[in-house]
């Protein structure tokens, strides 16, 4: 029988031909990254191993993104400890203000096709956009990876999701992600690998693909892979022999192949308290909001800011609403300054915050008071995520910006005119 892409990567990395779902295997790690929320415990655990050294400091990245820049003394102390550790062992350090781990790693061209990437963040799966097996792990496990360069994995079953069709005006890749999440629910894909393909993917930019791979985590996946195609190779440069186009065998075993046609997709909104509780925007249109937010590894790329600016140009944020925008990297921020997008957003009354995880987990910016409602491009809307008693609706940048203008959840197509 043939192999899926995930199985091929595991087979290649372990030199085993007999890779089968359910096997427990030990795999070598190509890239490990640790952020400032989980770094302190990883370092604490690593220090309990007196004989340990970092296995390969060139493969290890510390990213200060959750508290960026630090707004508490405690966070500042954690940052200092992380900087000291990275300095001591010669690991890479991505400083405060540079942005969120996943999009920054992507911009820096670090994940390569065929790699095994582990990150101390659940949304590490988003780096599967680059043809690597990328998955999230906890702090203690990260300490063990730092010491050994290896991790055990259970070979996952693979499901294929085929996305076909063309997005109508006013529909974004976040809407596609929310459609897929609604279909599978919060745990249906637990432990599974998911591989995306289809004519829609060919049309999506790498950032737009990453919106979908990041959000896949909310269905429980172990990893999510986008095709290694000409668009990806053009972006990351021609591959070496090891980075030749990785594709599944024609007779690869998938537990299921699920098709979606997105041509008639409408703007989607995930209602509280689950990212998978999606519905069409018209079901909740008119719900009063107190905050709108663009943020996170799946909702504050350049295209998100651009779409928000398209809605906000010449308009003002509704009275009583704050619109918090946290670009996901400093490069996104710089590009949006150069193109005038930031100016458009500021003139409309939006608030721009320093690149970080920021508003997504209620870190420092954009917390909610009890009873307040936020519509957001972020990754999660579990109870209390931005503050106890606050409610979060997840949607695309267009829907979020349209809602910021009207003060209630709004179908963006009403404001886009003939665009």
């Amino acid at each position: 029988m043939g192999l899926t892409v995930t199985e091929k990567i595991l087979s290649y990395k372990t030199n085993r031909k007999d890779i089968t779902p359910g096997q427990i295997i030990e795999v070598p790690v190509d890239v490990a990254f640790i952020h400032d929320n989980n770094g302190p415990i990883a370092i604490q655990q690593f220090s309990k191993l007196p004989l340990a050294k970092v296995w390969d400091s060139d493969k290890v990245y510390f990213v200060l993104d959750h508290h960026s820049p630090s707004s508490t003394i405690r966070a500042a102390q954690h940052h200092r400890n992380i900087r000291d550790f990275a300095g001591q062992y010669g690991c890479h350090l991505i400083e405060v203000g540079r942005g969120i781990s996943h999009p920054v790693m992507a911009e820096e061209g670090i994940p390569r096709p065929g790699n095994i990437v582990v990150g101390s963040d659940s949304h590490t799966v988003g780096l599967g956009t680059f043809g690597c097996l990328a998955t999230g792990i906890g702090s203690t496990e990260m300490a063990a990876v730092l010491a050994t360069g290896k991790i055990w994995m259970k070979v996952p079953e693979t499901i294929k999701i085929v996305l076909n069709g063309k997005l109508s005006p006013g529909i974004c890749s976040k809407d596609v992600a929310l459609l897929i999440l609604k279909h599978f629910g919060p745990s249906f894909l637990n432990y599974m690998a998911v591989e995306f393909e289809g004519s829609l993917i060919d049309k999506l930019t790498l950032d737009e693909r990453m919106v979908i791979t990041v959000m896949s985590l909310e269905m429980g996946v172990k990893n999510a892979l986008m095709p290694v195609d000409s668009r990806l190779l053009a972006k990351i440069g021609a591959g070496s022999a090891q980075e030749e186009i990785i594709s599944a065998d024609p007779d690869a075993r998938y537990v299921a192949v699920i098709h979606f046609d997105v041509s008639s997709l409408e703007p989607m909104v995930a209602t509280p308290p689950l990212p998978t509780s999606g519905g069409v925007v018209t079901d909740v249109a008119g719900t009063e909001i107190h905050q709108a937010a663009l943020g996170s590894c799946s909702g504050a790329f350049y295209h998100d800011l651009e779409q928000a600016a398209k809605i906000l140009k010449g308009r003002k944020i509704a009275p009583g609403v704050r619109f918090v925008i946290v670009p996901n990297t400093s490069h996104v921020m710089a590009a949006a300054v150069r193109s005038g997008i930031i100016d458009t957003l500021l003139k409309a009354g939006a608030i721009i915050s320093s690149p970080s995880c920021g508003v997504c987990g209620g870190y420092e910016v954009g917390c909610l008071a009890p009873g307040e409602v936020c519509i957001s491009t972020t990754t999660r809307n579990m109870e209390g995520r931005m503050g106890v008693g606050g409610k979060i609706y997840l949607a695309s940048a267009l829907t979020v910006a349209a809602s910021a203008v009207t003060g209630c959840i709004t179908d963006p197509r009403n404001l886009l005119g003939d665009v």
């Binding site: 427990i24 929320n37 989980n38 302190p40 415990i41 604490q44 655990q45 309990k48 191993l49 004989l51 340990a52 959750h66 508290h67 508490t72 405690r74 966070a75 954690h78 101390s120 963040d121 659940s122 999230g136 792990i137 906890g138 702090s139 203690t140 496990e141 300490a143 063990a144 010491a147 050994t148 055990w152 919060p186 745990s187 637990n190 432990y191 909310e218 429980g220 172990k222 689950l274 987990g361 209620g362 870190y363 999660r380 579990m382 109870e383 209390g384 995520r385 503050g387 106890v388």
Partner: protein, 169 residues
Amino acid sequence: MVADKLIYSGRLWKFGDNISTDHILPSRFMTEVEPHELAANCMAGCDPKFAAQVRFGDIFAAGENLGYGSSREQAPQALKYAGIRVVIAKSFARIFYRNCFNIGIPALICPQLVEETSEGDRVEVDLEKGVITNHALGRNYEFTKPPEFMLEYIQLGGLIPYLENQMGK
């Protein structure tokens, strides 16, 4: 600390489906790393009385997809430092499942036990036999035993002592 017998007896807490790591330890506590701080805020996202009422040796049960969401290990650590010795669920989110074993807490999949047991019941978990007994109901429930190496994590107190053992060899 090496546990002689992998038998745990305790009072059971019961929660529903999709209890996320945000429920167990909300992000506003994420800069906390001290055991007493994590214990004091355990379950702050959905049950503010839990941290005050939980006792050492208690057992934590939940429905489907326990530990959904963020990879934060502070969540299972909060449960551990609050006194929880074992977690049982109908199913687990994968990072949370691994985190539990890595810090020395057995995470067991036993849907029927969760279905039939009430909060406050006394249960006994025999990790080596793969059986959970509900004394109140007088019933036994079998679960699939975790792989040997994961049982060794539990015996030794987690992945780090396991690794220390390996590295010392």
